[in-house]
């Protein structure tokens, strides 16, 4: 198309006289024009040198008469100022050239316009580079000095080309160019293939036109941002607003999410393909708003449906989408938390039909199942995001501590958890594999983490551990140690201190027993009765949750000797220590050789109390209730159940008036017809009511311990602070105690009342409390 112009500019005028400025410019203009329009034909060395020399001559001409209206030429400004003429002539030329292009551009539109723009831009900028070279003398001297002097709007020759492009051509066509670009992008969004390198070129051109007015050596993105980015984002917004609105109306939310995901990926890809990196953030924001934020309400409404139906993939999709907008996930977390809580409560309600008979394992499993399920969801769909994990924790803490089973207070959960742990750690017929046991203990800790009343767990755990140790019914020392170290890790040294001491006591007792065996062997004279084969455990008062027996007791003579020997032995080792015999925990075995029709002698496993009763029958086949009570000194509440078991097992027969319960006036006789399928008969059976009593006792000690714990916390705080506001003291107290249990404010206040009364504290003005030493 530029054929016509090409022919007009190929002929160079003759080389001008260096003093003849008009001729010199004519010559230069022809050279410039040749480069601009006909570069592909090349330029011979002579012309190149000619132009270069002409520029030099023009600038250094001494006698030049300016054809420019008298602005320059003043002798005092020097000859070099003649460059301005040349500069102005060049501008005039470029304006003429570009105006022609503008006129031509009018004949094009859409893709043809883009092709035209890009072609002319390439031609123009390539030429500009050459011309810049040829005008190097101008750049180096006149332009440099003007710029050094701080003149505005003076550019090196290359930049001058860009400035003129922007002023003359760009300003006239950029709107139409952008329309063409946006039409192409829309086509592509509709799935058509486009020549996207064109857009890329347009972007590059727009970016190149950004000149920093303050510092010509730098460029800015202002021109691009204003003329490209802005309309591009606006078009994008409108496109996606319209599209998503229609899509949502016609499709399910899940389908919409898939669509949105695809769209967002496409836009990201678009940036890589042909857009400037600068658009990434605003484009993302624009898409996020149109595709997600504008629809966030219906998305969130759908979340509950997805939760109810365990649609993990779709929840992940929703998470990914909503995580792209500010505060997008908060409502999801709230819904998730409420949902998990509800699920937990429902799971508990399902197993808690009869709360009194609730199996600890069933209960704990129900809690764990919910936790495991939703932890999986958090991991799979929510990328284990900490905030979702926190929501999960909140929900779990709620339903673990406040559910149907815990209605009477929150301490049913720790009790059941401790009981389950006891069942796991106790010897049982169905001995679990070591590995499985370890896993289950880890799961126990998962629930433990959520328990608020950790002190309750501790109480029950230590009681049951004591029982396991005393009755040597622990299934594995390793498992016991592992559990204690887990608790220690979770709650600190203080929490497990006593538990560890209990272990140590058992170990020390083992050594002690072997020492005693030697000691005892040295005492026995030949001809003495063989001593009772006994083992002893020394349990440190204060570490074990055990109380002295609540009944008097005269141990049978048969064992009295043995334990007196032990006492002597122990006093030798540790003089000054007082031993209290916990008879209620002692047990033994007696061999039975009286029943008729017996092939091998039976062995009865009995408590020491029962043993004392049975041994009386070595002397007499019949003993009255009162005789037994007198001989053993046992109180009725202990003696009666012990006798009850003998009667039930038909070891003893009872005669006498009145009901069939042991009591004063009844006679007991040895049953010679005793029969049992087993050789070893366990008669040492705990009575239900005793177990219930123990639980009640435990709860009672918990209440008392709590009061002490709160009071000592208050005193500790006040001792350090001397003076403190009431509310501050209360919250400080809660934060100190919370790791053990969550104290209620009225309870703390009651403790404060007590301390005021005891004059540890005094009330000062303005709701302040003071510490009285």
């Amino acid at each position: 198309m530029s054929q016509t112009r090409t022919t007009t500019t190929t002929v160079m005028p003759p080389v001008p006289n260096r003093e003849d400025l008009e001729a010199t410019w004519k010559y230069l203009e022809a050279g410039v024009s040749k480069i601009m329009s006909n570069l592909q034909e090349g330029m011979d060395m002579t012309t190149y040198m000619g132009v270069y020399t002409a520029v030099h001559n023009f600038c250094t001409s001494q006698k030049a008469v300016s054809n420019h209206s008298g602005v320059i030429g003043g002798a005092h400004r020097g000859a070099h100022l003649l460059g301005e003429d040349l500069y102005q002539n060049l501008i005039t030329y470029l304006n003429g050239y570009l105006s022609e292009l503008v006129a031509t551009s009018k004949t094009h539109s859409d893709e043809a316009l883009l092709a035209f723009y890009i072609r002319e831009w390439d031609r123009y900028t390539t030429a500009a580079k050459y011309i810049n070279h040829l005008f190097r003398y101008l750049n180096r001297h006149w332009v440099k000095r003007e710029m050094d002097e701080g003149k505005k709007n003076i550019y090196d020759v290359y930049t001058l080309h860009l400035v003129q492009w922007r002023l003359t051509l760009f300003s006239a066509v950029h709107d139409k160019v952008m329309d063409a670009v946006l039409k192409m992008v829309e086509k592509q969004r509709h799935g058509e293939t486009i020549e996207h390198s064109q857009i890329k070129s347009i972007v590059d051109s727009f970016v190149s036109l950004g000149l920093d007015e303050a510092d010509p050596t730098k460029s800015t993105l202002d021109v691009y941002r204003f003329n490209f980015e802005r309309p591009f984002l606006e078009a994008t917004k409108q496109f996606y607003q319209a599209e998503s609105k229609q899509f949502v109306a016609e499709n399910s939310i899940v389908e919409y999410m898939k669509k949105a995901e695809i769209r967002l990926d496409e836009e990201e890809e678009r940036v890589n393909m042909y857009l400037h990196q600068d658009i990434i953030v605003p484009l993302k924001k624009c898409c996020n708003t149109a595709l997600i934020a504008d629809h966030s309400a219906i998305l969130r409404d759908e979340f509950q449906v997805l939760l109810d139906n365990d649609r993990y993939d779709d929840m992940q999709r929703m998470y990914n989408l909503l995580s792209r907008i500010p505060d997008g996930l908060d409502p999801l977390r709230a819904k998730f938390e409420a949902h998990v809580r509800k699920a937990g409560l429902a799971a508990v309600a399902k197993v808690a039909v009869d709360a009194d008979k609730l199996e600890p394992k069933v209960y704990v499993d129900a809690l764990l199942e919910i936790h495991t399920q939703y932890q999986g969801l958090v991991k799979q769909a929510f990328k284990d995001e900490p905030e979702f994990t926190r929501s999960l924790d909140n929900a779990c803490r709620e339903f673990v501590n406040r559910n149907q089973v815990c209605k009477s207070g929150s301490n049913k959960s720790p009790e059941l958890l401790a009981k389950y742990t006891d069942a796991l750690l106790k010897k049982s017929a169905t001995g679990a594999e070591e590995h499985d046991l370890e896993n289950t203990l880890t799961q126990i800790m998962t629930v433990f983490k959520y328990i608020e009343d950790k002190d309750v767990f501790q109480k029950f755990y230590s009681r049951m551990l004591a029982r396991r140790l005393v009755h040597t019914s622990s299934s594995s020392d390793d498992a016991e140690t592992s559990m204690i170290s887990k608790l220690k890790e979770a709650c600190g040294y203080e929490y497990t201190n006593k538990l560890q001491r209990m272990f140590q006591d058992m170990q020390i007792s083992k050594d002690l027993n072997s020492g005693f065996k030697e000691f005892e062997a040295g005492l026995i004279e030949p001809g003495d009765d063989k001593p009772v084969d006994a083992s002893y455990a020394i349990l440190g008062t204060g570490f074990w949750p055990l109380n002295p027996p609540n009944t008097d007791f005269t141990p049978p003579a048969e064992i009295a000797k043995a334990y007196e020997r032990f006492q002597t032995f122990y006093n030798q080792k540790h003089s000054g220590r007082k031993l209290t015999w916990l008879w209620q925990l002692c047990k033994g075995e007696v061999k039975v050789n009286y029943p008729k029709n017996m092939k091998t002698p039976y062995t009865f496993q009995v408590s020491t109390y029962q043993m004392a009763v049975l041994l009386l029958f070595n002397e007499n086949d019949k003993n009255s209730y009162d005789d037994i009570a007198k001989a053993t000194q046992l109180q009725a509440d202990v003696l009666d159940p012990a006798l009850g078991i003998f009667l039930k097992a038909k070891v003893l027969n009872m005669s006498g008036d009145g009901d069939d319960k042991p009591g004063p006036g009844k006679m007991f006789s040895l049953n010679y017809d005793f029969k049992s399928k087993k050789i070893r008969v366990n008669l040492n059976i705990a009575v239900k009511s005793e177990q219930k009593q123990e639980v009640d006792d435990t709860h009672k000690t918990i209440e008392e311990d709590r009061k002490l714990l709160m009071q000592s916390a208050i005193v500790r705080i006040m001792k350090a602070r001397k003076k403190m506001k009431h509310t501050q003291l209360v919250s400080e107290c809660i934060s100190q105690i919370r790791s053990r249990f969550v104290p209620k404010i009225p309870d703390i206040k009651k403790c404060i009342d007590i301390l005021l009364e005891k004059e540890y504290l005094e009330r000062l003005d303005d709701d302040e409390l003071g510490y009285l030493a």
């Binding site: 009431h726 509310t727 404010i745 009225p746 206040k749 009330r763 409390l769």
Partner: protein
């Protein structure tokens, strides 16, 4: 007309010459000794003398008037006067004769109802002198008697538009309170009295506040009795 107290204090501290005060003390000491029986301990007037003295002052022994005097002379117990308190109290008030004391007391009793600072002093001292020797707390029935005295004429009444607090308080304690009344409870009851007189809706109260447990429980009791809408704190 408690300006007399100020005047007395001013004259006491204002004059460089301490002689008048010393003379007052001497006169007051003699007055005190007049009421002391030979069986009374040194510097102490026992029950008989105390009753006589109060009667001489023209004070009603059946109501709070007596408590005003007991505070004024810092009596250690009801029915026992100490010389120190007697002399110091009257010296400060500038009353060295029975006649002056009588008119001063009459003035104090007149302003008892309206002068909150005076009422508070008397209220607080009542606990101190009402306790038995060596005791830290007041048996509930005794405390109730003194509250009744203090909150009836010539004392301040503890009644607001909708509620007879004094009666409600007594009713609550009789029904629910099994312990004795310690100093904190006594003094906090006064703070509570002041607050309820300003705001009978109890909006000043909060569970997190510094109130002792007995006040918290009373507030719940009172709200229920009055049929207040239970607030959210109680449902927690």
């Amino acid at each position: 007309s408690n300006w007399k107290l100020d005047q007395a204090v001013n004259s006491y501290f204002g004059g460089n010459d301490q002689a008048p005060a010393a003379r007052d003390k001497d006169v007051l000491g003699k007055l005190f000794e007049k009421y002391r029986a030979s069986t009374d301990e040194k510097d102490t007037v026992g029950v008989e003398g105390a009753m006589t003295y109060l009667t001489d002052l023209g004070v009603n022994l059946e109501n709070a008037e007596m408590l005003v005097v007991l505070e004024l002379i810092q009596a250690p117990f009801v029915g026992e006067l100490s010389k120190q308190g007697f002399v110091d109290g009257w010296t400060a008030a500038g009353c060295d004769t029975l006649a002056k004391q009588k008119s001063y007391v009459a003035g104090q009793i007149r302003s008892f109802k309206s002068d909150l600072a005076l009422f508070k002093r008397v209220y607080k001292h009542t606990f101190i002198c009402a306790k038995d020797k060596g005791q830290k707390a007041l048996p509930l029935e005794n405390a109730l008697v003194y509250w009744e005295l203090l909150f009836s004429p010539p004392g301040k009444s503890w009644v607001t538009a909708s509620t007879n607090w004094a009666a409600l308080w007594a009713e609550y304690l009789n029904a629910k309170w099994t312990k004795s009344v310690n100093k904190d409870m006594w003094n906090q009851t006064f703070v509570f009295f002041e607050k309820t007189m300003e705001d009978e809706s109890l909006s000043f109260w909060s569970e997190d506040g510094a109130w002792p447990g007995v006040i918290d429980e009373f507030v719940a009791y009172a709200k229920e009795k009055r049929g207040d809408v239970p607030d959210t704190m109680e449902t927690d």
